[in-house]
Amino acid sequence: MRRAKKANWISVCELDDIVPDTGVCVLVCGEQVAVFRLSGGGLHAIGNVDPVSGASVLARGIVGNLGGQVVVASPIHKQHFDLRTGACLESPGVGVRAWPVRCEGCTVQVRYDTA
């Protein structure tokens, strides 16, 4: 069956699966996505593969803010990635994809856009 060329919200986990202020890694149509839950209620999703080290680890980083940006620090060499855009703060031009994410009831959904 052909997927329609439109937005698909894919359920990835329950909200309770994510400890507040941490991330988890979810598999979305073969791609690794890091989903973060902030204790204030916000949800963010970015690619899980750290472009600097090549390791799939961003979901395991520490979440916080630097100035106005909400970020995760890669556990390998501590570069910071903006949770809203996926941009790496230390190296302009480097970054990961940011994914739309939402909470429907108690279920976390990531939007998978077919190109």
Partner: protein, 855 residues
């Protein structure tokens, strides 16, 4: 054209000349050094520390590879025996002849031995070289009673050495008081009392006439007043005499009271021969301190350099005499003498303050008009030394009532030295001739900790007396440059780690959100969260993965394993003391084989297993726990291992059970969270096979107990540990370590190893010893209680984790799939597995890393 330079003598001053020359790099200079001793230059200023546990290597002043890199020929155990100035040749003790263009004599001095009949008996010694020290410790072992002849600076240093060896120690002084040159009668009396309180016996006004056989001991000393004293060993330390015999024999001009006469460039009457240090005499004076010697070395190095460079005649430094002010600590008693200590200047006024209870004596000598400080004496408390010295050297105007300088501070009303008032040219470190301007430049260039500043400028690295002043200048300069002495942890907390620790303790804060709400702002970050997690764990020792702490942990602590470059983890089970049974070792092997882990031995005597995927960790640990293992905390900023040698149980040389001690200590401190990792080691004898002196806490067995060394480390900047306390029994040892560790945890910065922490402690090791051993802050009981809490509440984090279903379910790569990370791949290496390289992954999976570029 080149120049052949021969330097006779490789003492502190002779070696400083070489260092100055190497720094200037004059072209065509060829240097040969003759060193009479079998070791090159070492630190004679701190010689008595040899008896407090410092090794000959640690006293060395020669950087590794120094001679080789600089292309200097050094001939050890070779003495110069003659100089032929006509043909410019030096003859050596082994019959060699060396030609020179320029010659520098830096032969130093010899101890003065008064001509008393019997002064050459066996067991009559001197105290000057490391060989002398070896002889002294040899005789010390065969003696129970020792006498030092001479109550001056060196004599008292030597008396400390005798006392450290456990001898009943007497000091015999010809003059009517101790340190007659530096202090006055009142100061001498107080010094005497302080030293007698330490168990030494002082005899003043004693003129020794004869040394002969004793009745109960080896020698009997007979004095002019008819009294006598029996003792096993005698050390002469009654001053020094310049070693000028080489110069005398070739008619170089030697002063009446000794010393080769030199001019302002330290040249002798022969323009090709220089003399520096204690063998030289300038202006009728011989300078028996290291700082003037260093200055002479600098003068000669610049002079030689100018001769070689020849480009233009720059203004060359000249030696114009030196300030003989001095400060030292004698057996824990501070003594300082500044400038005109005896008030010899016509019309000078003196002020004195004496506190018999605290055993403090201060004397101030000021000019007739009361505006300038001329000199002073400090006994018992020399904290004002740096300030007074600067006031004198720079002619700073004194406050209206100069006596306020010596009266005890009342509510901080004491006028201090405003470092801003010091001119840029003020010499702050006299040993290394470092000016205020040089310090400020180094601060501007980024040396913003006392450790970095010492390294950049050498200030405070010889006698250490100027360190408080250097610190003040550093802080003032940082403030002035708007570097704002900002020790804030990060943008979320306007506090240092130490301050946060206190807030957590005092307010009994148990959670990060509480700490953030009360004292911080924002969400926190990867700096402050792990720091808070560590502080909370040090204070309350709750399970690091419980819900409210989990999000603070670095990935290592979050998964209780060490993350590697490819996102897999390594696993290290604890093996206390490095002891492991064959069965346990087999189980480790079986588990590693089952999960396909790469295994390697660590430097801390245990096994590291690499390549574990996050979802494998709980089952690996279930099996390890089943086999009797506990978490090794290799992932934490916490106690790693206590390395040990095999000790007296098996070793022919061991004097204590080092393995048993290591196991006890590892079990006591396992799980303790600290500002940085902590490594221990225990050696069973002085051969030190466990390399304890390279550890944060190193313990070496002695016949009587344990010597405790602290603040060493390997790594990028290796550093030897220093003796904190000696011959401790088991209980005292543990108490000292408890206090030391908790004091470190309280006061260190984030990620600051114990060695750097110690470098930044004002007062250094003496201060640390006062706090830990003598409880000078009165906090020992508190520190011990805090440690007891951590020890009593220990639990194996892995045991807790595998048995907690909530925690255990976090150990998955995907929260919505049981699949593993498909980007982890291995390749073979020497019969095991290693992470595949990026290229290998590319050929295997196609080009996988697809970093999206965002603008």
């Amino acid at each position: 054209m080149g120049m052949k330079l021969v330097v006779v003598g490789n003492g502190m001053v002779g070696h400083r000349l070489l260092e100055e020359l190497v720094a200037l790099r004059p072209p065509g200079l060829e240097i040969t050094v003759l060193c009479e001793e079998s070791r090159p230059a070492y630190d004679r200023v701190h010689l008595s520390e040899f008896f407090a546990g410092k090794s000959a290597d640690e006293l060395s002043l020669v950087a590794p590879g120094f001679f080789e890199q600089a292309g200097i020929t050094v001939r050890l155990a070779t003495r110069a025996v003659g100089i032929d100035r006509a043909i410019k040749r030096v003859t050596t003790s082994d019959g060699g002849v060396i030609a020179y263009d320029k010659l520098v004599i830096a032969t130093g001095s010899v101890p003065f031995v008064p001509s008393i009949p019997g002064n050459d008996r066996d067991g009559c010694l001197v105290y000057r070289t490391l060989d002398d020290l070896d002889a002294l410790s040899d005789w010390g072992r065969r003696s129970s009673h020792g006498v030092v002849v001479g109550g001056g600076l060196l004599g008292l240093e030597c008396a400390k050495a005798l006392r450290d060896m456990g001898l009943e120690t007497h000091v015999v002084e010809f003059a009517s008081r101790l340190m007659a040159v530096q202090v006055d009668d009142a100061g001498g009396q107080l010094l005497r009392k302080s030293i007698e309180d330490l168990g030494l016996v002082v005899h003043t006004g004693k003129n020794t006439l004869d040394i002969g056989d004793g009745e109960t001991k080896r020698h009997r000393m007979t004095f002019a007043d008819g009294s006598h004293l029996e003792t096993d060993l005698i050390v002469f330390s009654a001053g020094i005499r310049p070693r000028d015999e080489l110069a005398g024999a070739c008619e170089l001009g030697v002063g009446q009271r000794g010393g080769i006469m030199v001019d302002n460039f330290c040249r002798t009457r022969d323009r090709d021969v220089y003399a520096i240090g204690e063998c030289a005499q300038w202006g009728g004076k011989v300078f028996g301190l290291v700082a003037p010697g260093y200055e002479m070395a600098r003068v000669v190095a610049n002079h030689l350099n100018a001769l070689l460079v020849r480009s233009q005649a720059p203004v060359l430094p000249e030696f114009v005499g030196a300030d003989m002010s001095t400060k030292l600590k004698l057996m824990g008693v501070d003594v300082a003498s500044i400038g005109d200590a005896h008030g010899a200047t016509p019309g000078s006024r003196t002020y004195q303050f004496s506190d018999g209870h605290r055993q403090v004596y201060k004397k101030l000598v000021v000019s007739q008009d009361g505006k300038r400080l001329l000199g002073g004496v400090l006994v018992g408390d020399a904290a004002d030394y740096g300030t007074w010295l600067q006031m004198m050297l720079n002619g700073l105007e004194l406050p209206e009532s100069p006596e306020s300088l010596i009266l005890p501070a009342i509510e901080g009303a004491k006028p201090g030295l405003a470092v801003d008032a010091l001119p840029a040219t003020a010499q702050i470190c006299s040993c290394n001739n470092v000016s205020k301007a040089q310090l400020c430049e180094a601060v501007a260039a980024g040396a913003t900790s006392i450790g970095a500043l010492k390294q950049a400028t050498r200030a405070g690295t010889t006698c250490g007396g100027c360190v408080p002043l250097v610190t003040q200048i550093m802080k003032a300069e940082m403030k002035r440059q708007g570097l704002a002495v900002n020790n804030h942890l990060c943008e979320h907390f306007p506090y240092s780690r130490q301050e946060l620790y206190h807030l957590v303790r005092v307010e009994r804060i148990r959670r990060f959100d509480e700490l953030l709400a009360r004292h911080g702002h924002g969400l926190g970050c990867d700096i402050c969260k792990p720091v808070a997690a560590s502080i909370l764990a040090s204070c309350w020792n709750e399970f690091v993965l419980q819900k409210e702490h989990a999000s603070l942990q670095d990935s290592n602590d979050y998964f209780l394993a060490n993350i590697q470059k490819d996102g897999t983890y390594s696993v290290v089970p604890r093996m206390p003391g490095g002891e492991v049974t064959p069965d346990s070792l087999i189980r480790i092997g079986e588990i590693a084989r089952k999960y396909g882990l790469y295994t390697k031995l660590t430097g801390g005597q245990r096994v590291d297993m690499f390549g574990a995927r996050v979802e494998q960790l709980p089952s690996i640990w279930e099996e390890l726990i089943e086999a009797g293992f506990e978490s090794g905390h290799a992932y934490g900023k916490s106690l790693r291992t206590v390395k040990s040698c095999v000790g007296s149980t098996w070793c022919r040389y061991g004097v204590q059970d080092s393995v048993g001690k290591a196991i006890d200590l590892e079990n006591r401190y396992k799980g303790l969270r600290s500002p940085h990792k902590l490594k221990f080691a225990v050696s069973g004898c002085t051969r030190e096979c466990a390399e304890a002196q390279s550890k944060d806490v190193g313990i070496i067995a002695t016949e009587k107990g344990w010597n405790l060394y602290v603040c060493g480390n390997g790594g990028m900047k290796p550093r030897h540990a220093e003796l904190l306390a000696g011959d401790l029994d088991g209980d005292t040892l543990v108490r000292c370590i408890d206090r030391f560790l908790m004091f470190y945890i309280r006061t260190a910065d984030r990620l600051q190893r114990t060695s750097v922490w110690r470098d930044n402690l004002e007062g250094g090791m003496d201060y640390l010893r006062d706090v830990v051993v003598n409880d000078s802050l009165g906090i020992a009981e508190e520190l011990e209680a805090e440690m007891k809490h951590v020890v009593d509440t220990y639990e194996c984090e892995w045991k807790r984790a595998v048995n907690d279903p909530q925690v255990r379910r976090r150990f998955r790569h995907f929260v919505n799939s049981d699949a593993g990370d498909d980007r982890v791949a291995f390749a073979p290496v020497r019969g095991q597995l290693r992470p595949a390289t990026a290229r290998e992954k590319e050929t295997r999976f196609g080009r996988l890393p697809t970093p999206v570029t965002t603008e």
